[in-house]
Amino acid sequence: MTTHDGIAKGWTRDQMAARAAQELQDGFYVNLGIGIPTLVANHVPEGMTVTLQSENGMLGIGPFPFEGEEDADLINAGKQTISELPHSAYFDSAQSFAMIRGGHIDLTVLGAMEISETGDIANWMIPGKMIKGMGGAMDLVAGVKKIIVVMEHCAKDGSPKFIPACTLPLTGKNVVDMVITDLAVFARPDHNSPFRLIEMAPGVTAEDIAARTTAHYIS
């Protein structure tokens, strides 16, 4: 779908979400960010139980409500109306982030503007532009056990987003475990190790990735 100067192929947004969903395990408690990460919920493998956390105070996010059943008291962190499930539980914001900060959430999937080769992430502010705030992103990247970033491989102007060092203000330092782009997947086993290129979208070559990535990684 996406065309990166000459590469005809690449994963769609939905395929990127499906790839992130491969990291789910049965029994996981997961927090999904806004945008592509939200689509991960559609790809939970059959028979696997995954419980979604919403940082505004809920475990067990259900699907969007049926028309006419929207409840103003039941929203997700993106302020969208949602529904509850039989095993849902509500709690306050302090408890919600105690859960996140304390390492009780297994996995979070979120978007980013830049990722550095040492796992830094920038996704909350662009100097000179209106700052909206970091919301819960800094808490999530600091506290959740495994951090997966899903983003386009290059910015709209074609410049790489997986780079040696972030140029934008950080959301978290040395926190990212896996980067899934429309072209490739990079992962590292721990926060002292470099990222390794572990997968490429069909038709994408290692040279294509190298040409569009300034971060150092193991291939």
Partner: protein, 236 residues
């Protein structure tokens, strides 16, 4: 009847509002927002307020209304999107903003209410949020010192309260209302319904009466939804 119950929001805030005070407000977006109390703050005309609140309302809702009337000097928030007047005042330097990660903000309120003046967290280490803050290493990892917040006044929206001030919230409208309530030197709660003592399950009180000094019934509420997302019945 309840000694804590006041006839309306203006009466419940009588004597509590002054210029330049720090107010903690519950709510996440428009969900669980103490709208009657915020309206009464606006009508009181007090200025120079600092609000500690996860969001800053939207253009004509919540704290957004107080921004229009220029009663707010400073916001301590995690996210302030969706608010043009906020943006204008902020860019014009008329409004001071302290951005605080959402979890740190909730914990700072909880800490202030729990007699904890400071705590260490990993959140924000190595970012702009850490600037000017003490860094301490525990077990080979760096953490920053964040301060507890004690507010002059807490404004809270709840679902039901009994006559003695035991409070319950409904679904995700609980959010920042509990930490805000506990960090206020005085806490005023607006509820949808007051029920007799004994009506609420004592095992299921979200905010015990000790935290609640004054209450009003704010009903009827016309609760607003920021982003209405649905699925169609056919798809099910």
């Amino acid at each position: 009847m309840s000694k804590k119950l006041y006839p309306n929001a203006t009466a419940a805030l009588d004597g509590l509002l002054k210029n330049d005070i720090l107010i903690a407000s519950g709510g996440f977006g428009l969900c669980g927002l103490p709208e009657r109390l915020l309206d009464a703050v606006r009508e009181s005309g007090v200025t120079g307020l600092t609000f500690v609140s996860n969001n800053a309302g939207i253009d004509n809702e919540g704290i957004g209304k107080l921004l229009r009337t220029k009663q707010v000097r400073k916001m301590i928030s995690s996210y302030v999107g969706e608010n043009k007047e906020f943006e204008r005042q902020y860019l014009a330097g008329e409004l001071e903003v302290e951005f605080c990660p959402q979890g740190t903000l909730a914990e700072r309120m909880r800490a202030g209410g729990a007699g904890i003046p400071g705590f260490y967290t990993k959140t924000g280490v190595g970012t702009l949020v850490a600037e000017g803050k003490e860094v301490k290493n525990f077990d080979d990892q760096d953490y920053i010192l964040e301060r507890g917040i004690v507010a002059d006044l807490a404004l809270v929206k709840a679902w039901k309260a009994d006559e003695t001030g035991n409070v319950v919230f409904r679904k995700t409208a609980r959010n920042f209302n509990v930490p805000a309530a506990t960090c206020g030197k005085v806490c005023v709660v607006e509820v949808e319904e007051i029920v007799p003592a004994g009506s609420l399950d004592p095992d299921s009180i979200h905010l015990p009466g000790v935290y609640v000094q004054r209450m009003i019934v704010g009903a009827p509420y016309d609760k607003k939804i920021e982003f209405r997302t649905t699925r169609s019945r056919e798809a099910a």
